[in-house]
Amino acid sequence: MSYFVITGLINAIGSVFFGLYVYLKNPKANLNKTFGLFCLSVAVWSSFYCVWQISTTEESALFWSRALMAGAIFIPVTYLHFILVFLDLHQKKKKFLILSYILSFIFLVLDFTPLFVKNVTAEPSFEYWPKPGIFFHPFLLMFFGYVIYSWYLLFKTHQKITGIKQTQIEYILGSSLIGFLGGSTNYLLWYGIPTPPFWNGLVIIYVLFITYAITKHYLFEIRVILTEILVVATVSTLLIQALLAETLLLKILGIALVGLFTIFGYSLIKSVIKEIELRSKLQKAYAELEKLDKAKTEFLSIASHQLRTPLSTVKGYLSMILEKSYGKIPERIRKPLENVFISNERLVKLVNDLLDISRIETGRMEIRLEKAFLEEIISSVVDELKFEAEEKNIYLKWEKPKIPLPKISIDKDKIRAVILNLIDNAIKYTKRGGATIKCKMENGKIKVEVSDTGVGLEKEEIDMIFKVLTRGKAGIQFWTEGAGLGLYIARKFAEMHQGQIWAESEGKNKGSTFYLELPIK
């Protein structure tokens, strides 16, 4: 049996086996069906390829060479169909696909006429090699056109995606290149180029690889394949050595060695597969976690929306009552109503803070930088909070810098929130005296200083207050409304600007100073 008959036989048996294997795994799936069709075309081509080579007369060689082309005609269109299904483009390209099948059927009709395969002549290594008729040339154009187009689609999708599908495409593309180029060497003799199709045997490689790709993608790992090749090669070498050994004892020893190495090789392959399976499970778990994380953020957005709706109503109506939209309100009721309004504002702030924290923790907090004067922001915060200080009978001093500070690149809303938090805290934790705000340029940075004559902080508290859900002893003592989220958010906002925030205090009842430092950018 010649080398070419053997390669044809391997291709035929291989494509029938893998085609059936994939198809029977899930006969309803489009991907499996189209792969089965593709394998069927390869099987028809390669089976008749063997029969044609063992033909003894010119007539039978001509008949079987036309029969083998019947399979070859459908290889490009079924390959394209399979790739379109694999890339989920088959609906989009439905018309094109139907036209391609019609074209292939036209070639099939022409196949059994001299217009497609003219005759058979002797060529190097072959007694009867087919020669092209006039319609063979456009078929060849279609053949390479569809295959190259399929590769283009694979390549284009590969650029857009990541993960397992990307790896699958890499291997399909790589093995298709080898397989098709190997199979294409058959066309050289048709045009009198004296090169026999030595690479015909490569066809089965891509059938095998695609089978791997669409059935067990985790097995479709180069490490497993290399391990398998190594084990098979070593076992084969050991077996040949054992069979060729001169004495019976050496033969027995050799075979025992083969047995031992087979067990070792088997467990080696299994351990590699296990490791890859584990990795695949981890990847899946990670993807699941990412999905859950997204769902959590979405839930928080929706939940906060739901919480805010009644809060908006309470805030709106209370403000309208206090603004006398419904007429004068008795003085006795004014204070309780104001208290309800303040409590509602606390709830509003809590919802905002929780939402901010969730975004910070999941890395979804965005900053929009723009050039702004820090002094202007501080002034607007002081304006907003001065009534609060007046009500508590404490002073609120804003000592503007003598030389105006330069504009810096900041997210205005976030930096305003930080400054508001610092000054608001200074007022809330001070019973007597007041708070002073300063701002200056130092070592190429802008430093905001908020000092107060309030309750002060103990050393261990200073380390704790910028962490989530801690408030320090003073907080527990005087101000029980904060959930301890404000300073944590302030620290995160400062860090997002490559700045820093910290506190200093001489100790209990000695006041404290909070600093915010931002780079000049």
Binding site: S301, S312, T313, E323, S325, V348, V351, E366
Partner: protein, 122 residues
């Protein structure tokens, strides 16, 4: 002449509240509960300003903005998003679609919203 404001908001209590406040402040206010209804009303009434909620039943506020942009009759009417849906993507999309501002309801009293509206209408 009274300035006309179209409020697209699905929360009935809030519609009632804003209605009251805006009428008190001297505006004519008309309201819609859904995006499509809002589009129809905008075409019919040609308001001076639209106040738009983002999370609405069926089509959302983003849908409203996209459709509004397509219709030359109402495309130039200024829109202010007023929603409690504080989602950065929705906010960015709304701003890209040309809303004057994206206000969070709980951050503003009705009076403060009126001050904002005065700014946008001036």
């Amino acid at each position: 002449m009274k300035k006309k404001i179209l409020l697209i908001e699905d929360e009935k209590v809030l519609v009632e509240m804003y209605n009251e406040k805006f009428s008190e402040a001297g505006y004519e206010i008309i309201s819609a509960f859904e995006a499509r209804e809002g589009l129809k009303l905008a075409k019919k009434e040609k308001p001076d300003l639209i106040i738009l909620d983002i999370l609405l039943p069926r089509e959302d506020g983003i849908f409203f903005l996209k459709e509004q942009k397509k219709d030359p009759e109402i495309a130039s009417i200024p829109v202010v998003a007023l929603s409690n849906y504080d989602n950065p993507e929705a906010k960015r999309e709304a701003l890209d679609l040309g809303v004057k501002d994206y206000l969070i309801k709980t951050d503003f009293t009705p009076q403060e919203i009126i001050e904002k509206v005065k700014e946008y209408l001036s």
